[in-house]
């Protein structure tokens, strides 16, 4: 498996380069231009000048190459400088956003805390809710618990977050006044009170997202458990006198994990990708909001960089999922 992992990691390099090229071409091809947000009162000649200043006049391959160099060569140097106080990157041009004219990576770093707090937390919570629900629903198939679980999760999945989010705001912010409707990204947790405030402002977006994630994962968990509950080895485990808990949570669960691991691993990059709509509804302004504003503003370097980071995460987490398959099921061979 080591060779497999190494091979995959090596292979990831051309894959990622190719993905970045495809993303780049896609963005080039996509209609829209960074001047869309400039008011119509600004005359076209001026807009043309602005475009040129952004480097839009350069040929496509030059733009791509410039991005590659900036992303893979300059940005790591900046990171090193930041960590060790060196000055490798001095004077070199970083990946600059067209919209803010500032280094893209700085903004990304700025957005990480709230994304992780809200989206990350909701994902963890979603998984933590989903697994027990899925397992128990399968174990007691068609019991009241299963029926209610199914109902809630399907409704949770089919009702879009732009609706549930606003609903929660209307109930808890407008009518009850319990939680703020607008997330304060500058808030810093320093003491108990500020922690409570952080929790209060997190609770609604986290619940909305967690419900959505949990709905999806629990369905896969349930289906997969059902597939395995009737296998012969389960009978053997019972014959050993193992408690139902061990039988289900150890023997059946491990065998049922492959599809669930896939779903969970696929979801992790989306944590970093942010939950665009939920972030919008609650004004969390995380990475999702960053991406969507960048797309709306046709801020290509930003979109390109962000999507590429997601691509990186996707490749990594899919590799992790593959490695986990091998660990979960020893019969799966990779070489």
């Amino acid at each position: 498996m080591l060779t497999f992992t190494i091979r995959r990691l090596v292979l990831a390099v051309p894959t990622l380069l190719f993905i970045s090229l495809v993303i780049f071409m896609l963005l080039q091809l996509a209609p829209g231009d960074p001047m869309a947000q400039v008011p119509l009162t600004v005359p076209p000649e001026v807009k043309e000048k602005m475009r040129e200043a952004l480097g839009l006049g350069a040929p496509v391959h030059v733009q791509f190459f410039k991005w590659i160099v900036q992303f893979f060569w300059v940005e790591p140097q900046v990171l090193i400088d930041h960590l060790f106080g060196t000055t490798f990157s001095e004077g070199q041009l970083r990946v600059l956003s067209w919209q803010t004219r500032s280094p893209v990576m700085d903004i990304v770093v700025q957005r990480l805390p709230q994304t992780l707090w809200v989206v990350g937390m909701s994902y963890v919570l979603g998984v933590l809710i989903a697994l027990p629900i899925g397992i128990y629903s399968a174990y007691r198939q068609y019991s009241a618990f299963d029926q209610i679980g199914t109902f809630v999760s399907m409704v949770g999945f089919s009702v879009p977050t732009f609706f549930t989010g606003v609903l929660l705001i209307v109930i808890f912010s407008v009518n009850l006044g319990w939680f703020p409707s607008i997330y304060d990204t500058t808030h810093k947790v320093t003491d108990w009170d500020s922690l409570m405030f952080q929790l209060r402002q997190m609770i609604m977006p986290v619940m909305v997202l967690a419900l959505y994630n949990a709905a999806q994962i629990s369905r896969f968990m349930r289906a997969s458990m059902l597939d395995n509950l009737n296998q012969d080895y389960v009978r053997t485990a019972r014959a050993k006198g193992l408690g139902e808990k061990t039988v289900v949570l150890v023997h059946v669960l491990r065998n049922s994990m492959i599809p669930v691991v896939t779903v969970i691993a696929l979801g992790v990059p989306q944590v970093f990708g942010g939950a665009i709509i939920t972030e919008q509804v609650f004004k969390v302004n995380g990475l999702g909001q960053l991406l969507i504003t960048a797309i709306e503003a046709n801020d290509l370097p930003m979109v390109q960089t962000l999507t590429f980071i997601f691509a990186l995460l996707i490749v990594i987490f899919n590799l992790i999922a593959d490695i986990l398959y091998g660990i979960l099921d020893p019969r799966i061979r990779y070489d």
């Binding site: 399907m154 009702v159 606003v166 407008v174 597939d227 896939t262 991406l291 490749v315």
Partner: protein, 304 residues
């Protein structure tokens, strides 16, 4: 003595497999209710408009924002359009888009997942393609698709069918990846089971191996993907329309009705209720249908 040994075991006439499945399906209460609800929804949205006098796009400005009444059982919207008519018209689009896009995504996902899991040679290439698709930003991709294909499709199929094809394809090709990965994972494990080896020893071709041995055994994650896929497609469609990438603006869909109504949630809560309910009901009914079907297809559960 000979008679004793050689006498046939008392036997009943063989039954057909489809009969079995149907029998099992029938006894599954959830599936049955789900099926009925689904059929009712489909009938309501496709037959309903023939029976209902109002046109979904007809504006009667004098009767705007009405609460439910006999004339307008679901009320009217901010332009005085009849909500029932709009719900039915919206349902046609949402249900057809939901189901077709889901089927397309499911087909692509299962195909790619099975191929990747089954053929080691293809695995790397297909899974890297999946990574690529997962990584592509949805919005620009859709914009490009609309840019490239809207005109030709409009020319070939007319504006409505053209945009339908475009939307279904757009949703389909941007949502098959999770299914593919899940199916592949399962196939990887399944491939090492002994009955696959046994099937190979009797000369089963790869194609048949996949259709007879592999696919039926990965049915349950596919079923789950299917139910989740419908909900996903219906909601994605509304997002597309909202971004101006979907159907013309006067073309109601459930997702869009819901989206438009969210602003009016406090004044006219029923307006969010109808489309929300319709989407949830559809998804729930499909889910129960899928559950029932899965149980019916699983011989270990059947007969219990």
């Amino acid at each position: 003595m000979t008679e004793l040994i050689n006498q046939p075991v008392p036997s009943a006439p063989p039954r057909s497999q489809w009969r079995d499945i149907w029998d099992q399906f029938k006894t599954h209460r959830g599936a049955l209710i789900g099926g009925i609800v689904f059929v009712v929804i489909v009938l309501a949205v496709f037959i309903g408009p023939w029976l209902w006098p109002y046109d979904p796009t007809f504006i009667d400005i004098r009767s705007r924002n009405q609460n439910p009444s006999w004339a307008h059982p679901l009320g009217t919207d901010q332009l005085g359009r009849d909500m029932l008519a709009r719900m039915m018209a919206g349902g046609q689009t949402s249900v057809s888009v939901g189901i077709t896009a889901m089927l397309l995504a499911l087909f692509l996902g299962s195909l790619i997942g099975v191929l990747a899991g089954y053929f080691k040679r293809l695995d790397n290439m297909l899974m890297r393609t999946t990574d690529l698709f997962l990584a592509l930003p949805l919005l620009p991709l859709l914009l490009v698709m609309v840019l490239l294909f809207r005109e030709p499709l409009n020319a070939a199929f007319g504006p409505e069918t053209g945009i339908f094809i475009l939307i279904v394809t757009a949703i389909g090709i941007t949502s098959w990846m999770p299914t593919a990965r899940i199916v592949r994972g399962d196939v990887l494990a399944l491939k090492e089971r002994e009955f696959v080896l046994a099937a190979r020893s009797i000369g089963t071709t790869n194609f048949r191996m996949i259709t007879r041995h592999v696919l039926p055994n990965v049915m349950s994650p596919i079923m789950v993907s299917a139910t989740l896929g419908i909900a996903n497609a219906i909601i994605t469609e509304s997002a597309l329309s909202f971004l101006g990438l979907g159907f013309p603006p006067d073309f109601p869909t459930w997702g869009r009705l819901l989206f438009d109504a969210v602003d009016y949630m406090q004044q006219y809560p029923e307006r969010v209720l109808w489309p929300g309910l319709a989407i949830s009901l559809t998804v729930l009914s499909v889910n129960y249908l899928g559950d029932g079907l899965r149980d019916a297809l699983d011989p270990r559960i059947r007969g219990r």
